[in-house]
Subunit: 212 residues, 2 copies
């Protein structure tokens, strides 16, 4: 069975029966899982991995819905309400949060085409402030940073991000060198299932002293 | 200064300067806080309280955006993108989550006009399943249940909810008597600031053994 995506490329899709077995909910839909890193966006890869973690009872982490300001809604007879006018709002938080090993997890995912450094402009001020607030409450916060040209993915601790974020307003650089992200961050290797085993990197954080 | 709401009623509004003082972020907007329970919906009351907790650096708890399936977007020249067709989707999680005292907090808020019992149909199956998954990962989950006729508000633990939820499929009642909610839940008294001091009730849960 092959699914053809808009760009014409084809993906191998497999129904994951082992998930079914471990899942308590009899009424759950039969899930399709797309394996590997074959043109998926980082967001798709993370959603895919979160689905895996959810159905394996490993963690409950969801992407938040896109914030939308709804202005006009039609209520046609005998069919669903249709939103006729709405606008995108800026998110005041990060995109992902949830619970893992009893810990509050909060992160955002960023891709860059830049080969040697990560531009800090990828973050909104609100997102960084949100992470700062969460860290203060004992949450575990980080960024997943992907260098798309080389398919390299890193977990970068929020506390490290704060240092570089703040520095840019004190004469520091407006980007973080990839070498620094390599050194301070945790490299995440793509795998079959989950696509992005980022909770392994979270384990390293939780097991070390310098967490969050 | 008075704000007139669509229903014509007027609310006393006060600029809360003490929030300003305790807030580290110099760039934060000057917040207006509406005090007390004067016709606000439960959602407004909770958002209001969450704002208070956020700016006092007590907890970071947000309402998730309404999930919307976007079908058609227009990109007019020189102005913001307009969503022209979209549909409401069912939420697969609860509405509120965040972090408090290092704990993952997850809850939903429900109002009922019923005077003597709370109909379980107020919950979607997905929301209950989501809470079950969160509890399993060590999260603290509950419902805020408001009897609007009498302005009575209770924190009701998810683990208690599960009992009554599951019972309804085994010949049990489709609702929970208010007396039971009074007995098992924690009453929350409305206050000036925050409107709903529900984290006091959470403290009781966290300080007791039978948490979550």
């Amino acid at each position: 069975m092959a699914i053809h995506y808009p760009n014409g490329s084809s993906y191998k899709v497999s129904t994951n029966k082992s998930l079914k077995k471990n899942h308590n909910d009899k009424h759950s839909h039969h899930k399709l899982t797309i394996y590997g890193d074959r043109g998926m966006t980082l967001e798709q890869e993370i959603n895919d991995s979160n689905n895996y973690y959810l159905h394996k009872n490993i963690a409950v982490i969801h992407k938040k819905p896109t914030p939308v300001q709804i202005v006009k809604v039609d209520y046609p007879k005998r069919s669903a309400a249709v939103i006729k006018e709405a606008y995108f709002r800026k998110a005041s938080t990060t995109d992902y949060n949830g619970v893992y090993r009893g810990k509050y997890i909060d992160f955002d995912a960023k891709e860059t085409k830049n080969k040697i450094s990560f531009p800090l402009a990828n973050f909104h001020k609100h997102q960084v402030e949100h992470m700062r607030q969460c860290v203060q409450q004992g949450g575990l916060c980080f960024a997943l940073i992907k260098f798309v040209q080389t398919d390299e993915l890193f977990l970068f601790k929020a506390t490290d991000l704060f240092t570089y974020w703040d520095n840019q307003f004190n004469g520091g650089k407006k980007s973080i060198k990839k070498d620094i992200i390599k050194k301070l961050g945790i490299n995440i290797q793509y795998s079959l299932n989950p696509t992005i085993p980022y909770l392994k990197a979270v384990d390293k954080l939780l097991n070390s002293k310098g967490e969050s």
